[in-house]
């Protein structure tokens, strides 16, 4: 019934190659975007921005980044939070050293710096694979956190080793710092997510994405048909780190405002991002968003239901939250090992046939 290709004729290559070939999907997507850009900003408050939307959008960027690397190019990385830290500290250094620099330029440059660092740590991937590469990236995670703790230059010699975001404005509206309105934070993140999501989607459909997937599926076969593994793997590391660096910069400057490297960018967050990729679905753009939404929104929802709704003690709720989240993740992976994206694809297939079973 829904999702029918029948009657949806394509008369040009352009129409045939568009992102959402099915009309129903396309309409849906634009309605969602209209809601996100046109309606949500008017209703959002501090709680919704800081507890739900902003972390969701920022982790969606990080998940997209890791998905490009792990899901599309097949290189496992456990250093995501370390690369987020690079983005965060790069943005801090840029903002404090060049106060007049535009905020979006700072964010892009932070991504660029992280891309350089990521490429450097991606070099071992040319020699080692699988679990061994995971361990090498784990080293990056620990090294980067240690570095930002050890060298006072990175935190401008502050007594506590914390970095705090200075206030920056655009068109007279504060976009970082404590006076930032909830809707501004949300819109800044949303615009960046929209652009990066669009780029990621099209990257993966084009030459670069195909070369990544060739490497992922069988690297020496890819080499034989003319894919350069050096370029493919390093470009995957660079672009993935670019995304993760931007996520880290936003995490620091827009979301938290003050961070401490060991806590905000510890190994836990690396795993969290990896779980988002796995639960959302490896090698899927939609999956990146679904995975981030699941792991960010579920704990908040559970907490509100258990503590706010049912009035249970907060410690009991916190323990239950761990158990429920853990159980849900296991159930998900048993029922649908390919993640939420696959679940969505199955649903789509069913909807297409509905109401007839065949």
């Amino acid at each position: 019934m829904y999702y029918r290709e029948a009657g949806d004729f394509k008369t040009s290559y352009r129409a045939d190659q568009q992102n959402f070939p099915i009309r129903f999907d396309r309409i849906h997507f634009w309605v969602m975007m209209a809601l996100a850009f046109g309606v949500v900003p008017f209703f959002i408050n501090d709680y919704w921005a800081n507890a739900v939307f902003v972390p969701f959008l920022i982790f969606a960027i990080a998940t997209l980044g890791l998905n490009l690397l792990t899901g599309y190019c097949g290189q496992v990385s456990l250093g995501s939070a370390g690369f987020m830290a690079v983005g965060a500290y790069a943005s801090y250094k840029l903002m404090t050293s060049f106060p007049e620099l535009n905020f979006f330029v700072v964010i892009l440059l932070s991504g660029g710096i992280t891309a350089l660092v990521g490429t450097a740590f991606g070099l071992p991937s040319l020699r080692i694979k699988g679990f061994y590469l995971a361990v090498a990236t784990l080293a990056a995670q620990f090294f980067l956190v240690w570095l930002f703790n050890k060298v006072p230059w990175f935190y401008n010699n502050s007594a506590s080793g914390q970095i705090s975001v200075p206030r920056r404005e655009m068109f007279g509206i504060p976009i970082t710092g404590p006076e930032t309105a909830a809707s501004t934070k949300y819109l800044v993140c949303l615009v960046i997510v929209f652009v990066l999501g669009f780029v990621a989607r099209n990257l993966t459909r084009g030459r670069i994405g195909r070369s990544w997937m060739a490497i992922r599926d069988m690297d020496f076969a890819a080499e034989i048909i003319g894919v350069d593994p050096l370029r493919a793997k390093l470009s995957a590391f660079a672009i993935s780190s670019f995304y993760i660096g931007i996520a880290g910069a936003l995490f620091f400057s827009v979301y938290l405002g003050a961070v401490e490297v060991g806590e905000a960018f510890g190994i836990n967050n690396s795993f969290l991002i990896l779980f988002m990729v796995i639960i959302g679905g490896l090698g899927s753009i939609y999956g990146s968003f679904a995975g981030a939404a699941f792991l960010i929104l579920m704990p908040v929802l559970l907490k509100n239901v258990l503590v706010g709704g049912l009035g249970w003690p907060s410690d009991l709720a916190a323990h239950l939250e761990f158990m429920i989240m853990g159980a849900l993740i296991i159930i998900f992976l048993i029922v649908e090992p390919h993640g939420l994206a696959r679940l969505w694809a199955v649903t789509k297939q069913k909807l297409r046939l509905w109401p007839f079973p065949y």
Partner: protein, 429 residues
């Protein structure tokens, strides 16, 4: 679509959660889970029990009931921010986050939202300069006072001369643990001792290499800025290498029963700094027994009553209540706003007489908060553990610390903050 559904459910849940505002709301950003729960639980219990006592015994404050909204942070900054945003709309009057990391998050927000925060013995030390930090209070003592208090104690037991002595600082590798370093460096220049820095990473269960280094270098004294599970591990490690316990001194966050008990008899002699008194030999505990414990209204499991950090929770709640009382007096009405609460705290005066009336004689120092001084007196005492008796005892009474060294550091750090954050420095005259 899934995310839409989840979002819709979440909307429902939050709509359910939002209570009506009345009452004087004091959010408690507690942590009863995770590696820091050993400190988080007693503090949250003490905080809540005191508020319950005021409600049950006095019927609230000026006729308004006190309401504690508890929110679990797990000592995690991200969750702390969520808790702050979730509770501030409920009319929160004062935040006491019991985490230096969360405090750093809240300092700029408190200014923007005009809600005061009180960080007793933690947080950003330079917040003692009220001219810069209008909404932040950190009386009665701070980390730098703690560091100086410990050094003063060392001077005492060494007859006033500790030149040539070696100190090692075992610290939590975070904003919290790094706070005393600058003060210790200044003091080492003044008194001629040396400091070795030994950071321990979160959560602090792994300290073998740090203690190996201590075993090798044999410093005369070991200082500790630890929290949660890190404390008990460190004390156990010190016992394992037979480090003389009386030369091992922790900050007040490393001085609770939960930290020393796991090491058993070997922990006897361990010292910690403190800014309030120990034990439950105070009239207020009789009232607590009568109005709270006997009625079964105890927060938590009730097994922490009278411990060092439980007492600190009580003390923190007492400050909040007295601040609110002062605020009601100044404002002339009972239903105060966060802004009025701030004024109350700034005019707070804790005298011996007041402490007597509250049933807490000699529980803490007497001091006066002012526009320029949000840090109180900064008096620090030293407590020592006796494993056989299972009690802390105060071995050195609350004494003033070396403000000659600390005050310039406060001025310098707060000026740096004001410049960085673009805060307008108030005039305090």
């Amino acid at each position: 679509m899934k995310s839409l559904k989840i979002a819709a459910l979440a909307v429902g849940a939050v709509a359910l959660a939002a209570p009506a505002f009345a009452d004087l709301v004091f959010p408690s950003l507690s942590y009863r889970t995770g590696p820091y729960a050993a400190g988080g639980i007693p503090y949250a219990d003490g905080y809540q029990d005191y508020m319950t006592l005021i409600n049950e015994r006095d019927g609230g404050l000026g006729g308004e009931k006190l309401k504690v909204v508890e929110c679990e942070t797990g000592y995690n900054t991200q969750k702390g921010v969520e808790c702050y945003e979730g509770t501030k709309g409920q009319g929160a009057l004062l935040y006491q986050p019991l985490s230096t990391g969360i405090t750093y998050q809240l300092i700029p927000k408190s200014q923007a939202d005009e809600i005061p925060i009180l960080t007793m013995g933690y947080g950003r030390t330079s917040a003692a300069n009220g001219a810069v930090f209008k909404y932040v209070f950190n009386f009665p003592a701070n980390y730098w006072a703690g560091a100086s208090g410990i050094v003063n104690h060392l001077l005492d037991i060494n007859g006033g001369d500790i030149s040539g002595k070696s100190l090692a600082l075992v610290y939590h590798n975070s904003a919290y643990g790094k706070e005393p370093i600058r003060t210790l460096e200044e003091l080492s220049k003044k008194h001629g001792f040396s400091v070795t820095l030994l950071p321990v990473d979160h959560p602090g269960q792994e300290q073998k290499s740090q203690w190996l280094q201590i075993r090798r270098e044999r410093p005369d004294y070991v200082l500790m800025w630890g929290w949660g599970v890190m404390n008990s591990v460190a004390i156990q490690e010190a016992a394992n290498i037979n480090f003389p316990m009386e030369n091992f001194i922790g900050i007040w966050w490393s001085g609770s029963e939960n930290d020393v008990r796991p090491a058993g008899a070997a922990a006897t002699g361990y010292k910690a700094a403190t800014f309030h008194n120990v034990g439950k030999d105070y009239p207020i505990f009789d009232d607590l027994q009568k109005y709270v414990f006997d009625k079964g209204m105890t927060a938590g499991a009730g097994d922490q009553i009278g411990t060092a950090i439980y007492n600190r929770g009580l003390y923190a709640a007492m400050m909040a209540v007295e601040g609110a009382r002062k605020a009601q007096e100044l404002a002339g009405h009972a239903a105060i706003t966060p802004q009025e609460m701030r004024d109350g705290l700034e005019n707070l005066e804790i005298s011996e007489e007041l402490m007597n009336n509250l049933g807490m004689p000699n529980f803490g120092p007497s001091f006066k908060v002012s526009c320029s001084n949000h840090g109180g007196s900064g008096d620090v005492g030293i407590q020592q553990w006796d494993a056989a008796a299972g009690t802390w005892s105060l071995i050195s009474d609350f004494a003033p610390v070396d403000m000659e060294v600390i005050q310039p550091l406060i001025e310098e750090d707060s000026a740096a903050y004001a410049a960085e954050a673009g805060v307008e420095v108030r005039s305090c005259n």
